[in-house]
């Protein structure tokens, strides 16, 4: 390679080759900096083809990711209605959102949704995954069954569960509970039970994904420790508690914050099940953003919508940073 290198003027992958082979690296870095001085040298050095390959990404990310992110920050400080030119209004949009009587309700519902989702959906996948990893036959059937609800389109899942939640005594869930002489329950139609009903469906739809992540993490647990613990006479419970759990701690902490971030952005369930009702009992932050921007047929309040979405993003960012700080100190002690 080093013998051929000077003879070849076109070195498209020189950076790569250079970093892997130290001898060439010194040489090629020198020649590269010489080649980069002129546009022609840049083209010959592979700069043009790299740029050509990056074009699709630059266009798509620039237009549909980086630009909209910047635009959100700008729009939150503006008053826009798509007809007249936008006017700068400072922090008025943020103030309008904070003064909206629906805002605290939406925040409380979202927090309740996230909290209930943790209680319903956090321990069960872990127990299921630990049990599944010890299955000796038909393990594939277990994971396939667990993952099945995840592949069903969420709209189908929500509308199907809406049928299950039928509040009549002949609804599916009420019929099943009726066999045990329970109910009928109002499910989605009562402000008290609507939100937990949403969480139940959401847990059903998402638990499979968490189980698969835990199963993947469980294959990375150091198996020799089990053997050593068995030799020392550790009971099954102590092995779970002192070997499995500590090695899963990183994944467990991660899935928890990912789940909180995910459930803080819940939209589909409240939108399709209840449209935020009854009596705003299932109005979430994302549903409020949707209502600001698209709920009014007269034209959207895009300023308030972007202001609220920025506030949510900032809150989640701060929460993640604090969470990572706190949990890091746990894992060191």
């Amino acid at each position: 390679m080093s013998a051929l290198q000077p003879a070849k003027p076109v070195r498209r992958t020189e950076g790569n080759g250079g970093e892997r082979v130290p001898v060439v690296a010194r040489e090629s870095r020198r020649t590269r900096s010489r080649g980069r001085r002129t546009p022609a040298g840049w083209v010959r050095g592979g700069g043009l083809s790299a740029l050509l390959f990056l074009l699709p990404m630059l266009f798509v990310f620039g237009a549909f990711s980086w630009y909209p992110i910047v635009r959100t920050a700008i729009m939150s400080l503006q008053h826009t209605n798509l007809v007249q030119p936008a006017t700068w209004v400072g922090l008025d949009n943020f103030r309008a959102v904070l003064d909206d009587p629906q805002f605290p309700k939406a925040v409380r519902n979202t927090a309740e949704f996230a909290g209930l989702a943790l209680i319903f959906g956090y321990p069960v996948p872990l127990i299921a995954a630990v049990l599944m990893s010890e299955v000796r036959r038909f393990r594939g059937i277990y994971s396939a069954l667990a993952y099945l609800p995840v592949v069903i389109p969420p709209v189908v899942a929500v509308l199907l569960w809406k049928t299950f939640y039928n509040a009549d005594s002949t609804g599916v869930f009420n019929t099943i509970l009726g066999w045990a002489h329970l109910g009928p329950y109002p499910w989605l139609q009562s402000p008290d039970t609507a939100l937990p009903s949403l969480v139940l469906e959401s847990t059903w739809a998402n638990a499979g994904g968490t189980i698969i992540i835990y199963l993947a993490a469980l294959t990375g647990v150091n198996r020799e420790l089990y053997e050593a613990a068995s030799t020392d006479g550790a009971s099954l419970w102590r092995k779970v508690w002192h070997i499995t759990m500590p090695q899963l701690r990183g994944v467990l902490l991660l899935t928890m914050i990912l789940q909180i971030i995910g459930t803080a952005q819940v939209f589909l369930e409240p939108y399709l099940f209840t449209s935020g009702g009854p009596a705003n009992a299932t109005l979430t932050v994302l549903l409020l953003i949707y209502q600001y921007a698209f709920g009014n047929s007269l034209g959207g309040d895009y300023g308030s919508a972007t202001a609220l979405s920025l506030m949510l993003a900032a809150f989640l960012a701060v929460l993640s940073v604090v969470y990572l700080r706190v949990t890091r100190s746990w894992s060191t002690t």
């Binding site: 070849k8 076109v10 070195r11 498209r12 992958t13 950076g15 790569n16 080759g17 592979g46 790299a50 390959f53 990056l54 074009l55 699709p56 990404m57 630059l58 798509v60 990310f61 549909f64 909209p68 992110i69 635009r71 729009m75 826009t80 049990l131 599944m132 277990y142 069954l145 667990a146 099945l148 609800p149 592949v151 069903i152 389109p153 709209v155 199907l160 569960w161 002949t170 019929t175 698969i212 199963l215 993947a216 993490a217 198996r223 089990y226 053997e227 006479g233 070997i243 499995t244 994944v251 991660l254 971030i261 939209f267 399709l272 921007a293 959207g300 895009y302 919508a305 979405s309 993003a313």
Partner: protein, 302 residues
């Protein structure tokens, strides 16, 4: 308890529950029972709703309303499926969904492979900065993009033409998946770089390297990305709801809430059944990609 010293388990059986544990009746019945209970629970919870949906799709509406848990009390009604496919025009929305999924898949594959190739193998000087910018978008919640992206589709900058009701409004933004780019780049990073050097010495250019060497080597990761791209497009709801306003061009997921309000329950459930059939069959065929990709998601995020 101490007797266990004399029972070294063979290496492949080194597990949480050791071979010795399995021979103890308490654990055998406890863990085994829990596993069987888990299997039954998974069948009821994971498969049960789908079986009910399949049953109700071919049950007369009245029977489903009055006796939802009875199994064909008055015979079956296959007419539901036919009515859903033709009268409700599910065939049209089904086709729309397929076209949308195919375009989104293509856009994601093109962006992820070219960007991953350039950032991992060509490595321009500004590549690190771009990788950083892509990674940053992973941490931005999707909702932040919603409103400005919508306005960009209605009033695109530079071009004075609304993209509302155009499938490009779905296909192009789908390509901006940071997750795919990161996944591809990681995969390319781990390919044996000696091959690239050899190809380069043999005179292969960047394009040849990409097409004839890197792409054929990356079939496993292309499979995972494809499966998830198509599934994500099939599942998508809010974005197509916003930008596709003409009912004739909408995908199934967007049409379903309207269909729910306008059709008898039996026909509607048949529609739901058809809508979930493709993802489920795809899952059964590509199970390995799904389950490995699910674990991969955890590994990457970690």
């Amino acid at each position: 308890m101490r007797r266990r010293r004399h029972t070294p388990a063979p290496p492949e059986q080194q597990a949480l529950v050791s071979g010795f544990d399995w021979r103890r009746p308490g654990i055998r019945w406890g863990v085994g029972g829990a596993q069987i209970a888990l299997l039954l629970g998974l069948v009821v919870i994971g498969l049960g709703p789908l079986l009910w949906l399949a049953k109700s799709a071919i049950t007369p509406t009245q029977d489903t309303i009055t006796h939802p848990m009875a199994l064909f009390p008055n015979g079956s009604d296959w007419g539901n499926l036919r009515a859903a496919w033709t009268d409700v025009e599910v065939s049209r929305y089904f086709w729309n969904t397929v076209v949308l999924a195919f375009g989104s898949w293509l856009s994601q594959i093109i962006v992820a492979t070219t960007a991953g190739f350039a950032l991992s193998i060509l490595r321009p000087a500004y590549g690190k900065l771009l990788t950083g910018l892509v990674l940053t978008t992973l941490f931005v919640p999707a909702v932040v993009l919603l409103v400005p992206l919508y306005i960009e589709i209605v009033h695109p900058p530079l071009i004075h033409h609304s993209f509302i009701d155009s499938y490009w409004a779905i296909w192009l933004p789908a390509g901006a998946s940071a997750f795919n780019v990161v996944l591809m780049k990681r995969f390319f990073d781990n390919l044996p770089h000696d091959i690239f050097e050899a190809a380069e010495i043999d005179g292969a250019g960047a394009f040849r390297l990409f097409w004839s060497i890197v792409l054929p080597l990356s079939r496993p990761i292309l499979g995972v990305v494809s499966v998830f791209a198509i599934l994500a497009s099939w599942k998508d709801f809010l974005w197509p709801l916003l930008v596709l306003t003409n009912p004739d061009g909408q995908p199934l997921s967007v049409r379903l809430p309207t269909i729910e309000a306008q059709t008898p329950l039996g026909v509607f459930l048949a529609t739901l059944f058809i809508a979930s059939l493709v993802p489920i069959i795809g899952f059964l065929i590509f199970q390995r990609s799904f389950l490995r990709g699910g674990g991969l998601g955890g590994a990457i995020k970690g």
